[in-house]
Symmetry: C2
């Protein structure tokens, strides 16, 4: 682990990222590892290799960093969802895309996603409400896709979309907290596994069942 955040852009280009960008990336890193409240602005400035006071040129207060991280993360998810739905008109295919891309994106960017998921409580009432609203909008998009897939006879209908969407996010979100980039599971493998279990379940195939071949064909787009 480097003592300071590498100023080189993550996309491999040699263009150095701005201090503002490095600040957000460093904050996400520390907030995920130590938690928002336990992370000090001193640690953050040390990670960036600047003085503590210099942080306050880029922000008004520590909470601003958390808020910005949450907003940008949820915006990214919203865009990802839009792209998935635009890609095909088949609801089940949309849902498979959503599960795959949401998982891989969230695992690749786990600092921001993990922080957004559990540090919402640290925000002021007003800001927290805004974030919850953004999050709920994203969930609603997936819920509607699930409802459409039910109507098309592609998903079981004994569980309401409202609850099926919770089940799906259970499966995807907790991965963000145990995933390790240096572990043996890649984001793609995890995404495929969760999608497969969500659609087909973990029980052994009944002899004459054609279910698995129907549901699992394109879990990995």
């Amino acid at each position: 682990m480097p003592a300071t955040i590498d100023p080189t852009a993550a996309d491999g280009s040699d263009q150095a990222s701005s201090t503002a960008d490095r600040l957000l990336a460093g904050a996400a890193d520390l907030f995920r590892r130590k938690g928002y409240a336990a992370t000090t602005t001193r640690e953050l400035s040390a990670l960036l290799g600047i003085q503590n006071a210099s942080l306050y040129y880029h922000m008004e207060k520590k909470e601003d960093l958390l808020y910005k991280l949450c907003v940008s993360t949820l915006d990214d998810v919203a865009n990802e969802l839009r792209a998935c739905i635009a890609e095909t008109s088949d609801p089940l295919e949309q849902l498979k895309l959503i599960m795959f891309r949401y998982t891989t994106v969230a695992l690749r960017d786990r600092d921001r996603h993990a922080t957004m998921l559990i540090e919402i409580r640290a925000l002021s009432d007003e800001r927290r409400n805004k974030i919850v609203e953004l999050r709920d909008k994203n969930v609603a998009v997936v819920r509607r896709t699930i409802a459409a897939a039910q109507k098309a006879g592609q998903l079981r209908t004994d569980i309401k979309p409202k609850y099926l969407v919770l089940t799906m996010f259970n499966l995807l979100n907790w991965s963000i907290f145990w995933y390790r980039p240096d572990g043996e599971l890649t984001p793609e493998t995890i995404a495929g596994m969760m999608s497969s279990v969500f659609l087909d379940g973990a029980a052994a195939e009944a002899k004459s069942s054609g279910k698995k071949s129907i549901a699992s064909k394109t879990v990995r787009p």
Copy 2:
């Protein structure tokens, strides 16, 4: 919400719980709602209706509370798992019991379980290692049950037990963070839903499949 913790025992008896017990319950409550680092000992003493200094008769430091909470929670889980496995010799039935009881117990006691799950990082290295060890032991028990169910032809074998157990806990654990006791879903309903999706999946039944009737019979023991 009461301003102070009710000194009456939770089991309905009129026996007042000890200050030590109320301290742990209050700590779990605040730690889940605000996070460990963001919870002050002053808030805690106010919740109990005693002076801040009085806390230190019952503990050496704040971290002791977190550690005790984690240990007791994981011990409870270990006992629950043992009971589930003792109840039947059929691996799939054991697994269904485990999913049902783990979920209902964790949701009923979400203060302690949620705290244990995400505040482990706040512990000292030594204590954190101990907690992780306890947690891993519990996971290993479930992993072995899953392996046995695979051997018995009851669970799909294309995913290793090591990973199937992660999938199962994904499904169960994230519920702890969105469950609300005053919501419309009961712990039992959530447990049943998660068990059903874990075993059978969310995809619509293929016409001739007998899978669901095999796997779902006793999801709610």
